[in-house]
Symmetry: C2
Subunit: 367 residues, 2 copies
């Protein structure tokens, strides 16, 4: 049997759930009908059967290979997205009365901070809130507490288009926790600097509903309080993410994305590609008096490029005309306004070139 | 472009993740590349965009239509499976010092009971544990407490192959909570008898990673303790399951399954089909001295049919030969042994006939 599939795909600038590699989508189309000649689709296989054993084992191995993750760390696939980690982290690692350091660089940092306060004290070691989160604090702007339980930061801020260049300073010998939901595996990462890295899949890794958690194994043993079985990391680590039925299709797809990144040359090659892609759009902004980037130049994100036109009317017009020209998802977040071009790993360079050209043309007509 | 897809599918008796309707899988193959002519696949659409608005709105509407769910109830799509509900329910509805009634009818009931004990007292209003969970308690066997916070039961027990015929007795004016993971929408259900119904998707509704929760709206307002934002049902109800990024593909697929059930004639028609399917296999067991059903006749599940052969050697041989004949997933759960044929909504009658015939043939050769 053959299947007809519409091939017309547009340039999808969505901030998340976001574009996936087309090669992976093609693989998934086959696998949901019949994976590995098993006569059963990937969603229909037992999570304890041999076919899924291979899927999850390879996903873990490819993840380790990609980011150079040592055996000192466990690689877990959980559910609930970053929002679920916002409370699971302090529930496990912030004892009552103790202090955790948080860098407040946007809406997702704020979400994490709100939940942490239920469990202990929060010290804001830095904040860019007064500048509408348009920069990443660094140097003397970061003031760690003396001995925090841990230090938490959001490596990339989707809404305001800012991104940490490197890890922030931390107090004492506290371990670092990173919400890397929106830039995970978009560049090289030295996992050994972290206690815990978490990322909802739906930007760079796969479909929403699966969360990648990379956790240092010694942390599995020290939790701050007695918690439900499902809320301790140890439960999931001891059972290789299969204490309960995991999101099998999400793990399958994430595994295929890991293999795709490896085929693309790994994290260093992806990083170079992402830099080149973002530069095309930032150059269009910087060469113009019409367009204005909202993030401070030294803090610009390579994943989410936020910019404004001279008026909101022109912004609405631009977004509408861009959509008609096959460029979807350019409307900025409601709390930031303007435009946002999200150009995650799977977003093609041709889409960045098309947008830059469209911006120049729009400026000529409306500037 | 055309895509070649292997069409050879086997009879998949997996207990879960389990077989899905082939018509739905065909729809999903197209939708993950380009849904509704949008030029973007279902997994790549923003959860706040118009395409996904339609997906989730229709899923809720079709769910309400299927089960006759009134506006007194909210229909939610959560994450974490039934295991996540095991603690989320008592965290919300079992005040410290108060008692909840649980019917202990198998491994999943025990999981729910274990988590409830963290929050308050548990009264076992009935248990079939002494009989290795081979029956469903009823009549005088059910002894509710006077005024429990709620009464919890597991409507179908996948491991031991038993199923409630109707709702159990409950104490006082407590509300009923049901883990319906493995028989949801396999028959008609009077939702108005319940306070909360939950079901992991991976048996009758879709891929693992999405949990359907049907909750009476007055319960949204009364929670027993202050909880993290993500752990209160109200958070999810107020945001139409989009407080955070939901598992968009899982919701899409569940919605397509709801439409498929409607096309099949709705819950009454599905129930008649399921009765006829299970009867084919139970008749094969009852007509034989060789095969033995493990569940008491009055408690037999229409979803999971558990049976034994005269020896474990013969069981291994049967499972192996059945797999070679295109019948996969017949091995019983490790805690029950023997064979288990899971024949959820999407499992075809032809597969039941094939199994019954294969059982008769195996008996002739080995009996």
């Amino acid at each position: 049997m053959t299947m007809s599939v519409a091939t017309e795909r547009v340039f999808n600038f969505s901030a998340g759930p976001a574009i996936l590699p087309e090669a992976v989508l093609r693989e998934a189309q086959e696998a949901i009908w019949n994976i590995d000649g098993s006569g059963i689709g990937i969603m229909e296989h037992s999570h304890r059967g041999k076919v899924f054993d291979k899927v999850i084992d390879e996903a873990v191995a490819d993840c380790r290979e990609l980011a150079g993750i040592s055996d000192d760390y466990a690689v877990l696939f959980l559910q609930g997205g970053a929002s679920h980690q916002f409370f699971m982290i302090p529930a496990n690692y912030l004892p009552e009365g103790a202090t955790a350091d948080y860098l407040n660089t946007g809406k997702w940092s704020q979400g994490a901070i709100k939940e942490a306060k239920r469990y202990g004290k929060v010290h804001l070691s830095a904040s860019s809130e007064d500048a509408n989160f348009n920069f990443i604090p660094s140097g003397a702007e970061v003031k760690p507490s003396v001995s925090p339980a841990y230090t938490h930061f959001t490596s990339n801020n989707t809404i305001f288009g800012t991104q940490f260049r490197t890890e922030p300073a931390k107090g004492g010998d506290s371990f670092l926790i990173c919400d890397a939901s929106s830039d995970i595996f978009s560049r090289s990462i030295d996992v050994s600097k972290y206690g815990l890295i978490y990322a909802g899949a739906q930007k760079n890794l796969g479909p929403s509903g699966t969360t990648l958690v990379i956790i240092r194994k010694d942390l599995l043993e020290r939790t701050a309080r007695d918690l439900p079985t499902m809320l301790t990391y140890k439960t999931h680590a001891e059972n290789d993410s299969r204490y309960n039925t995991p999101p099998t299709f999400g793990i399958y797809l994430m595994g295929r994305v890991f293999k795709w990144i490896r085929r693309e040359g790994g994290l260093a090659a992806i990083a170079a590609h992402n830099e080149a892609k973002a530069k095309i759009i930032y150059d269009a902004i910087d060469a113009s008096e019409f367009w204005n980037g909202t993030a401070r130049a030294d803090s610009r994100s390579l994943m989410n490029i936020c910019f404004r036109a001279p008026s909101e009317d022109l912004e609405s017009k631009f977004i509408k005309e861009a959509a008609a020209a096959g460029m979807d998802g350019l409307k900025g977040h409601r709390s930031a306004g303007g435009m946002r071009a999200s150009v995650y790993n799977a977003f093609p360079k041709a889409g960045c070139e098309a947008l830059a050209e469209f911006m120049r043309e729009f400026e000529r007509k409306n500037g």
